[in-house]
């Protein structure tokens, strides 16, 4: 489902020097597989997810999703692939504040293959326990509810790959557990691969497959040495 090879990304520091943030030689994820990546803040794990999602263009290497090579595509085709195959759960939710809960999910779907399917969006939100909050704005919701909207938006399109960046970082223990269970459940139902990054040991402990991003990322090793 996901294949990463020799993926590199550098940024220019304020002093003008090139700083390598990501250097991953190989990483793969099969359909339905659920992997947790352990990573501290500043370890480059969000950049890694952005590179996989095609939000950032890599300096070198390749990312292939469901057979389509993301890194070889034009920006427009990367956008299309992201809309078709990916669900992205952001740490800060990244909900559209001017749009209602339902609109957030519908808009998330509208760029993908299903199109703006309001009925399906309502079903997914209902499953998240947000059926009574469809026409509320994100600011009118609790943090836990906002997170569930973000999850619903990422999963509504039946993505083949779900990327979750510290999805429970802003939630209390109980809500974090609930959210995580929900994400994993839906991914299992859809046979979607899940790549979750977190530094929370309690979250990581729930995954059978765990990897240290610091080990995976050669850039961090070089920096450390």
């Amino acid at each position: 489902m996901l294949t990463v090879a020799d993926l590199k990304k550098s940024f220019r520091s304020p002093e003008g020097e090139g700083v390598e943030i990501v250097n991953v030689a190989a990483f793969a994820l099969a359909a339905g597989e659920q992997v947790a990546l352990r990573g501290e803040s500043g370890s480059g794990k969000t950049t890694f997810l952005h590179l996989i999602a095609g939000i950032l263009a890599a300096d070198a290497g390749r990312v292939a999703i469901d057979g389509a090579e993301m890194t070889a595509l034009s920006e427009s085709r990367r956008d299309r692939l992201r809309a078709d195959k990916l669900g992205y759960i952001f740490q800060t939710f990244n909900l559209l504040q001017g749009h209602t809960v339902l609109e957030n999910v519908v808009l998330g779907m509208s760029f993908g293959p299903r199109g703006a399917d309001r009925a399906h969006a309502q079903t997914v939100l209902g499953r998240m326990g947000l059926g009574h909050r469809l026409h509320h704005f994100p600011r009118q919701l609790s943090t836990g509810q906002q997170q569930r909207v973000a999850v619903a938006r990422a999963l509504a399109n039946h993505p083949r790959l779900v990327l979750a960046d510290e999805p429970t970082g802003n939630l209390d223990r109980r809500h974090a557990r609930e959210a995580l269970t929900l994400i994993r459940e839906v991914c299992r139902e859809n046979n979607a691969a899940l790549l979750l990054v977190s530094h929370d040991e309690e979250v990581l402990a729930q995954f059978e497959q765990r990897r240290d991003f610091a080990e995976l990322n050669q850039a961090m090793k070089e920096t450390a040495s």
Binding site: R80, T92, G98, S110
Partner: protein
């Protein structure tokens, strides 16, 4: 549904700046349409008003003053001409119709014009359009001793005159209650609206006005002007030569349409100033669309980045911002129609009161389609700069710091 939803929510989020910007577009649009309509319709209306007659013969003086006085019932008469001058032109083989008029009295500010019944029976305002009286009335009697009057529709409405009513005329072209004439006139009828300056006048027999008590008996046969219809246009140049070049006693104002056009060319600077103001307002409005959307870009950058992360392509974002600007233009243009109709209604009322010329407020003009379309296009153009800013939104950088 995606694009309309994004646009709708964005406009709602920035409701105040949307309303203010759309308001300035409405003002520009309403102003442009009004200026254009008033200019074209008034020129056409004034030209058609004069089209019933080819020329006006009057005392030596300004042709424009002569036309304004004899046809539009504005301005003072440049002087009188002898009845024999009227008879001479009436009998001229090149002249089809010659109608004398005499002015010098009023009824509470509305002019009394003395004329012959032939004005109502022989003259057509436009081909096939005769002058008629409203039901229950008739034209005045040819016998001046009957002391009858026919009121123009607008004058009758304003003075509350109806058939059978009586009145005493006042001396002079402006109303002064101390200058009342002793004669009592009876309203025989009210003219059906002609949408010309005739509507602002009270018509009485020529002889009645000439012999009104207090008028100089030495001028009792003089007329103020003669309205002339020619048999052929070439005759006009011949009479022009005869009266204006070879003679020095009378003025032959011909052709009436050209003289009216000269009037408009004299006041065209005013149109141009108004047009310029409207164009400036339009430019400022388009600029404010640009500024308001551009300024909102910083606040919206995160939303745009989220949409991009969800799979929206750059061109979708670009299209959304340009469409948003165009929608503001559409809202402004729609409100512009309201401003146009209000403005034109007020201006048309003033023009009708002052000149008797009627502008058709509800008549469709090409400018009513072109101007709003132009404004929408201008607004869309104003949206291009912020759209480029949106287009270039760095998604990863905007969404979260590198961790």
């Amino acid at each position: 549904m995606t694009l309309p939803l994004i646009i709708y929510r964005s406009l709602r989020q920035h409701a105040l700046s949307t309303v203010v910007t759309a308001g300035s577009i409405a003002l520009a649009c309403g102003l442009l349409m009004s200026v254009w309509t008033v200019k074209t319709q008034s020129q056409a209306a004034f030209a058609s008003t004069g089209s019933a007659f080819d020329a006006v013969l009057g005392a030596r003086g300004s042709k424009l003053q002569l036309v304004l006085n004899a046809i539009f019932h504005l301005e003072a008469s440049p002087g009188n001409l002898a009845y024999s001058d009227y008879l001479f032109i009436k009998r001229h083989p090149a002249v089809k119709t010659a109608i004398p008029i005499a002015v010098g009295d009023n009824l509470r500010g509305y002019r009394l014009v003395g004329t012959l019944p032939e004005l109502f029976t022989d003259v057509e305002l436009a081909p096939g359009k005769k002058i008629t009286v409203q039901p229950g009335g008739r034209f005045f009697s040819a016998d001046p001793a009957a002391k009858e009057a026919v009121a123009g529709s607008f004058a009758a409405e304003k003075l509350g005159l109806k058939p059978g009513d009586t009145f005493h005329p006042f001396h002079g072209l402006t109303f002064d209650e101390k200058n009342q004439h002793a004669e009592t006139y009876t309203v025989a009828g009210v003219l059906a609206p002609t949408n010309t300056p005739m509507d602002r006048v009270i018509w009485i027999p020529l002889r009645g006005l000439q012999t009104m008590s207090g008028h100089d008996p030495r001028a009792a046969t003089d007329v103020s002007a003669v309205l002339v219809q020619l048999r052929a246009p070439t005759a006009g140049f011949m009479l022009d030569l005869m009266y204006n070049k070879q003679g020095n006693r009378l003025t032959f104002a011909y052709p009436v349409g050209t003289i009216i056009a000269e009037l408009f060319s004299k006041i065209s600077w005013f149109d141009r100033v108004l047009e310029l103001v409207a164009y400036l307002v339009a430019l400022v409005a388009a600029g404010s669309v640009l500024a308001s959307i551009y300024n909102s870009m910083s606040a919206r950058q995160r939303d745009l980045a989220i949409l991009r992360a969800l799979g929206a392509r750059r061109r979708t974002i670009f299209g959304a911002v340009v469409s948003e600007a165009a929608v503001i233009g559409v809202l402004g243009a729609l409100a512009g129609y309201v401003i146009y109709f209000v403005l034109l209604g007020v201006v048309a009322g003033i023009i009708r009161t002052q000149t008797g010329v009627v502008l058709e407020v509800w008549r469709w003009q090409p400018v009513l389609g072109l101007c709003p379309l132009g404004m929408v296009a201008l607004c869309a153009l104003g949206g291009v700069v912020p759209a480029f800013k949106a287009y270039r939104t760095p998604v990863a950088q905007t969404l979260s710091p590198v961790s």
